[in-house]
Symmetry: C2
Subunit: 408 residues, 2 copies
Amino acid sequence: MSKKLKLGVFGLGSVGQGFYELLDQSKNPNLEIKKIVIKNPTKTRTIESSIFSTTPTDILDDPEIDIVVELIDDATIALEILKQSLQRRKPVVTANKKMLAGNLEEIYWLQKKYETPVLYEGAVCGSIPIIRNLEMHYAYDRLESFEGIFNGSTNYILTKMIDEKINYDKALDQAQKLGFAESDPTLDVKGYDAKYKLAITIAHSFGCFVKPDHMLNIGIDKISAHDIRYAKRQGCAIKLIAKAEKIGNKIFGIVAPTLVPLENPLASVKNEFNAINLVGASTGLQMLTGKGAGSLPTGLVVLADVASLLAEFKYSYPKVIPGNPVTFEKDALINVHVSFVTPGAIHPTDFEEFTGGYQGEDAHFMTGWMRIKKLEEWVDRDDLSIMVNDDTHFKVYEPKKEREFSLA
Amino acid sequence: MSKKLKLGVFGLGSVGQGFYELLDQSKNPNLEIKKIVIKNPTKTRTIESSIFSTTPTDILDDPEIDIVVELIDDATIALEILKQSLQRRKPVVTANKKMLAGNLEEIYWLQKKYETPVLYEGAVCGSIPIIRNLEMHYAYDRLESFEGIFNGSTNYILTKMIDEKINYDKALDQAQKLGFAESDPTLDVKGYDAKYKLAITIAHSFGCFVKPDHMLNIGIDKISAHDIRYAKRQGCAIKLIAKAEKIGNKIFGIVAPTLVPLENPLASVKNEFNAINLVGASTGLQMLTGKGAGSLPTGLVVLADVASLLAEFKYSYPKVIPGNPVTFEKDALINVHVSFVTPGAIHPTDFEEFTGGYQGEDAHFMTGWMRIKKLEEWVDRDDLSIMVNDDTHFKVYEPKKEREFSLA
């Protein structure tokens, strides 16, 4: 594809504008935007109006357009755009994590069927080139686990709440004003956005496809001033952590507020920054840190993907191999800290292994190993705040054996 | 190149063995080592002897061998192997930083001339995919500066000296036993190894080729117990830092022991780990951390390079563009801390801007802005220990104007 490429762009939100601006600045003679399809033609824009259209087929059916850059919000429409583009053999660059995470296995097969690539570095961890590194650098390493801060908006909110003692609502408001938050903030604060990215990263790390619905996500919206004080006393930060681990042929994964000891470099990753710690059998620990949100950082990654198509780069999904026995397992034991106000809200018997508890004047907590299946029942309870202890791993859940009858 | 590739390997030291082992484990049906050329045929080895040879042409002149993997120590012979391989249109994977740094501009042109790629991720920062990221991720960002820990051996030694109060000689001995150190340890401890990597990284970051001889390197071998105490009191770590900065169209760069404030995440990078902080106009700050030395971490990167050739990846040197006005400038002002034992060893007038000094019972120091040209004269003085202050930037050196004659 070493020729001049014409691009059709869907959507001109925060990332789209960053992408447009950077492409314009780059003065790359081989890349030109021919058409931008937008939803709302009445918005005032600084770009000359002839480039805009509200009709998707102006891009899809234009044989002159070589590449589709999909940067809209709606996952259902984004999937339709992706499919129609691939059918027309137009490579796609997208940053739509919800669409990707929900349909990644199908998208994998569609790329094979139409021999047309889809690149989506911008969908995971903003400016951090994590997918590219998993593709090219980790192809031959056996990844054991990864954990990371995958959502810039919640990391910004937690930083403000903890370091600057700003309350949750005000911090969320700031994140939205700075353009870090998703248009629907519940996607951020409830951990869905991080979970979409987790699902995509699991596919590239371990070669198994998992639907986001099949993973537990716990949000940051229940974190209390009590939790923050507790974390500080324990020498921990509170971070919304997405993590996955391989035990045998099973992959376990979760998104949850997590007590991260200050010695873990993830504890020092602040504001809109994202980071990922990867543990490989040969490389050992690697960490990548960078801005996880924002118009220019994400726009640059989209531009890098477009430029990679110029160099005929495509994902090879090195871990997705025939007969791969690796599967995702939802249930597991995980070590959690649960705080609550009303005495008796939870009981030691709720834990598979109860470690300890504290009953104070204003707040109580219990810690121990719990089944993810059990935690799922608690996620929507407003009276509980659940945090994972970061210095623990997943444990495979094995039902307790019935005690054998014995006369002795 | 999507076919079965036969490899010819030069050298079977620490990295070569890691590479061999990982390739063997990978059971990749498309990659096979046909021949390994070694210097010493009498060494006992676990690999079957028929694969070995001591004759370079057994690889170079074998038309069946598609790729040359060069992992020997000697830079002069390595360059000869590289040239002869390219002449025969055999792509080369190498980890020889000394050879690369000293000849990178020529190697750039040879790749063009013979239309045959050279990949060398293993030459810079061990397991960290820094070159690949500069190539593909930062191609469209304007890099402003980078700084990093580029040498695992010295970082290991400094960690042992500072955290465990082990003396320099014993720490060096440990690093050598663990296989982190170069066969000639002066390359590590005097900062040459880090400087070779700096030169390579500058080419990929800023598009200008600089010979290592044209940059100043200060080693860690003069660091005293007094310096370590001083750093601790200042809330700093001491790290051997390689850094480069773009000011206008000039690139400045140096390798030196550096007082790194504990807030800078580089301060927490310990033992054989390497790290790099990159500052780009659009991406902002990014950091990559990983093992900088060791048989398997570096062997894996070499394997990733070989696999990338299978996918027809080659470096595009995106910043090396016709008419690029960027050039390296050796001289600059840099903020340093110089400690010494003998009173009067140096004078405030040695500094362009003298900031302050301390005269104690057992040790003295002075800080201020100095010309790199002047520091060069001090590098080999055994009575001076020189450290850069990390929270400062380079300053362009401008000769002081002669005071104009005035009657007023």
